[in-house]
């Protein structure tokens, strides 16, 4: 028993020694997000992306002549852990943070970074309020916000699919429900179509046939889904198996190659909005190649956004010539930089200019961009 106390004591001691001061010759970049738990798959690719970019810089002799060091922080997408991660990042003296992954965790962590004057670039937090509220001048993102996406999808539904009755399904999550609510709002505002069903499904459920039967009964012209690909593929395959062949349109949580892999033949003809087509962007190709070389697998979700965030950040630090908060944020807002998601710079609110959405359709096992 004594041992446990000794152990704890020793742990405290070691940790208090470890708590670093500011070291002269490294630049510390924090990478925060969900690295364990059920949402780990959304956070881990970001770590890989930042590692790759940092390695590239370090090979070339570092950033501003200093070595880039990465500190990861796991928040499991939980707000309370996110604040702990944020204070840890601040105590450890990071100059900037790439992350957090989930909007909720980001919201919880941002005030702490704001007070400590640390810029934060998220590859994936799409909640509109993060930039539009104007509360977080230190926040940037390399992904467009949910409402922009919902707007595009609604335009597509009304103008191209010419739907009159729309069923909206979401996964009850922050992201999915947010997207669905915006879609509903935009459809109502336009008035050309009617929302006949607005319902949430329980994520992780084993079977969605009941809700599919309900969709069938309401006879909509199109189904809109807000959420991530695991639920989307379950719903769309159940729909097709039950003989419901109406268009299915969803968000960029679904525009993921895993969706096609998982849903297989049922993924055909599904529409999903997502970041503009970057498959021909040489930087994107290069980044994916690097990932395959270093980690031996295809990159996961938000990899390109994270890679771009890291590039934009490092570029800004280089342009600013220092890691000073004001200079870096100014550089982020001033200079365009070539990234896997396109040529970007950030606007006053922190949204990336040059990052937009397109609508895609799955054709022969691939997402094909649809122009309209």
């Amino acid at each position: 028993m004594k041992k446990i106390f000794v152990l704890i004591g020793a742990l405290f001691l070691v940790l208090s020694l470890l708590t670093p001061g500011s070291c002269g010759d490294v630049i510390k970049i924090g990478v925060a997000g969900s690295h364990s738990g059920d949402l780990a798959s959304y956070g881990l690719p970001t770590v890989n992306a930042v590692k790759l970019v940092a390695d590239n810089y370090n090979k070339k002799g570092g950033l501003l002549g200093k070595k880039v060091e990465i500190l990861t922080g796991d928040d499991q997408c939980k707000p309370e852990l996110a604040t702990n991660v944020a204070t840890k990042m601040v105590s450890d003296g990071v100059v900037a943070v790439i992350g957090h992954i989930c909007s909720g965790a980001t919201k919880a962590a941002l005030p702490i970074y704001k007070e400590a004057k640390i810029p934060v670039i998220s590859p994936s937090a799409t909640n509109p309020a993060l930039t539009q509220s104007g509360q977080y001048p230190n926040f940037f993102r390399t992904i467009a916000s949910d409402d922009a996406q919902a707007k595009l999808d609604v335009e597509f539904i009304l103008n191209v699919l010419k739907a009159k009755k729309v069923a909206i399904i979401h996964d009850k999550g922050d992201y999915g429900k947010g997207f669905a609510t915006y879609a509903k709002k935009f459809i109502k505002k336009d008035g050309r179509a009617k929302v006949v069903l607005f319902e949430g499904v329980t994520p992780g459920g084993v079977d969605y046939s009941a809700v599919v039967q309900k969709i069938k009964r309401k006879k909509p012209d199109v189904v809109v889904f807000g959420g991530y690909h695991p639920e989307a593929s379950k719903i769309v395959s159940t729909m097709r198996k039950k003989g419901l062949k109406i268009p299915f349109i969803s968000d960029d949580g679904v525009k993921d190659i895993t969706f096609i892999k998982v849903a297989g033949k049922y993924a055909e003809d599904v529409y999903a909005s997502g970041p503009k087509d970057i498959s021909k962007n040489p930087l994107h190709i290069k980044a994916v190649e690097e990932h395959k070389k270093v980690f031996g697998s295809d990159p996961g979700a938000f990899f390109d956004n994270a890679y771009s965030a890291a590039l934009a950040l490092f570029n800004a630090i280089e342009k600013a010539g220092s890691t000073d908060y004001d200079k870096v944020t100014k550089a982020l807002r001033t200079y365009y930089v070539d990234t896997p998601v396109g040529k970007i710079k950030f606007d006053k609110k922190g949204d990336a200019e040059g990052v937009g959405f397109s609508v895609y359709q799955v054709q022969n096992g691939k997402f094909v961009e649809i122009k309209f």
């Binding site: 499904v201 329980t202 084993v206 046939s209 009941a210 009964r217 695991p230 039950k242």
Partner: protein, 300 residues
């Protein structure tokens, strides 16, 4: 009226899924009165093993039926082995201590196994091959009942019958019942209690593996976390039906499936789980030992 039947069959197949996992829960509980939180993880490991085996066989070019059979056998073997090992490590040393210790140990085991699969395999969802072939004569009814749904329902029914026979009429079943009633007395009359408990874990885990294969091909995707959610639902089903009772687990699963399905269909799927849990509370208020559970008089 069509709509009613559609929902009825949705509930039936969903309920059968719950029942298949709940059976393992209820068996373990019946014998050692332990809520085996790691049971869901055993089911998940079964699904992953089946995925790996079927992946190899697909690459080697086997045909669909043999893949289904081999993958199921492999999954059952491995899940049983895991169930057996988990019992030996996490529960057996705790026999005779307070009732809550094994529960915490089970929660710990569940966290451990989830992260073990996460680290050793992948954090992502992976697609699970459709191992179950399309059944031709079911096609006209596909809006009610897909072929996987059908296979799941039939399997659950068969498992229920086999288990009942095993427990009612075989020697090992008798020993199980004896152990469930009183471990000390069972040992006195010559039952090898350790062995019976191991066998129970092995059977329960094997069932979970069958569930893993069937549900994996029904849903079409798995990840390391599926066990946790399914586990909680299955546990609810087992308690609803009267924990420790084999037919109770199936009935509980079906009732749960129907509640969710009709709740979704006629009210809203937003509160799907709320209906399920409210029903649970209601049933337990009026029948404190579950639908088919025998309310034993407490011994003084």
């Amino acid at each position: 009226m069509d709509y009613f039947f559609e929902l009825f069959f949705s509930g039936l197949s969903k309920g059968s899924i719950y029942a298949l996992i709940a059976l393992g829960y209820t068996m373990v509980y019946g014998i050692i009165e332990l809520i085996n939180f790691a049971h869901g993880e055993i089911y998940m490991i079964g699904a992953f093993t089946a995925l790996i085996i079927s992946g190899i066989l697909t690459i080697l070019g086997f045909n669909k039926i043999s893949i289904l059979i081999l993958a199921t056998i492999g999954a059952v073997i491995y899940s049983s082995a895991y169930g057996f090992t988990v019992e030996k490590i996490a529960y057996k040393p705790l026999r005779g201590s307070s009732r809550l210790s094994p529960l915490i140990s089970a929660i710990g085991m569940s966290i451990f196994l989830q992260n073990y699969v996460l680290l050793a395999q992948t954090p992502n969802f992976v697609s699970f091959p459709e191992l179950i072939p399309e059944i031709k004569w079911l096609e006209p009814y596909s809006s009610f009942l897909g072929s996987t749904d059908f296979v799941i329902i039939v399997t659950t029914a068969i498992v229920l019958v086999l288990l009942t026979i095993l427990i009612k009429f075989t020697k090992i079943g008798k020993a199980m019942r004896a152990t469930a009633q009183n471990q000390v007395m069972a040992a006195l009359v010559g039952v090898n209690v350790d062995k019976i408990i191991s066998v129970t874990f092995i059977i329960g885990s094997g069932l979970a593996a069958i569930g893993g294969v069937l549900i994996g091909s029904h849903v079409g995707q798995i990840n390391f976390y599926i066990g946790f959610i399914a586990g909680i639902k299955a546990f609810t089903a087992a308690v609803l039906g009267g924990i420790g009772s084999i037919p109770g687990a199936v009935l509980g699963g079906l009732v749960l499936g129907w509640t969710e399905s009709f709740g979704t269909g006629y009210i809203s799927s937003d509160y799907e789980d709320v209906f399920a849990f409210c029903l649970l509370v209601l049933i337990l208020i009026f029948r404190p030992a579950g639908i088919l559970g025998e309310s034993t008089q407490q011994k003084v």
